[in-house]
């Protein structure tokens, strides 16, 4: 048996876990490693919490959830897409 295949999941899993913790009611939640380098991410979150909030407040909630990896530099670039009702 060869080594287990590496598909970038290692890099996205901690972010996925942080987002799931912050948005337990999310109806959609995904983290994509855009470049395969483990530091450029596309995050998509759909949650009833975003309902009625301006985009800037929606994105701030995502930034808050990912404050630690943003601060320690493990996220080099982050693209965010938030949705209210799915």
């Amino acid at each position: 048996m060869g080594p287990p295949s590496y598909d970038g999941e290692v890099a996205t899993e901690p972010l996925q876990a942080l987002l799931q913790h912050a948005f337990p009611d999310a109806t959609e939640l995904s983290v994509l490693d855009r470049t395969g380098g483990g530091d450029h991410f596309q995050v998509t979150v759909a949650s009833p919490r975003f309902e009625g909030l301006p985009l800037i407040e929606q994105h701030k909630l995502v930034y808050d959830a990912l404050a630690a990896p943003l601060a320690d530099g493990s996220i080099h670039e982050l693209r965010i897409k938030t949705k209210g009702q799915p």
Partner: protein, 121 residues
């Protein structure tokens, strides 16, 4: 003037302030390019500020705005958001409505794109 004061003066005095990596003539980051492109598509009178010359520029800006990433777009003193938000607002036409509301319906005629520089203390 302190760095913090220079930054807030730009935010307060410029109709549209874009804090970016690089300058409009030499953009150094894809997200800064996306924000600039979205603003241009809406005809915004952009005042660009390069945060790259000194790491303190970014630190002070984020401390002031509460927004962790670059670019950051302000319209008449108010933080609108980063590249994703400005791009989304431009696509839906919301950016033009916002600019019209904040700056008046003739906001496109006012002025050309310009660049201002921060000076490290």
């Amino acid at each position: 003037m302190t760095l913090r004061n220079q930054i807030s003066e730009i935010i307060e005095s410029q109709p549209v302030a874009l804090f970016m990596k690089g300058t409009p003539a030499f953009v150094a980051c894809g997200n800064s390019q996306r924000a600039l492109h979205a603003l241009r598509s809406a005809g915004a009178p952009v005042t660009a500020v390069d945060v790259l010359p000194d790491p303190r520029f970014r630190q002070e800006l984020s401390a002031l705005s509460g927004w962790p990433t670059i670019p950051q777009v302000f319209v008449k003193g108010e933080l609108v958001g980063g590249a994703d938000i400005v791009e989304e607002l431009a696509e839906t036409g919301e950016l033009e409505r916002k600019l019209t509301k904040a700056l008046g319906s003739d906001y496109r005629d006012g002025r050309d794109e310009r660049v201002v520089e921060l000076v490290a203390a």
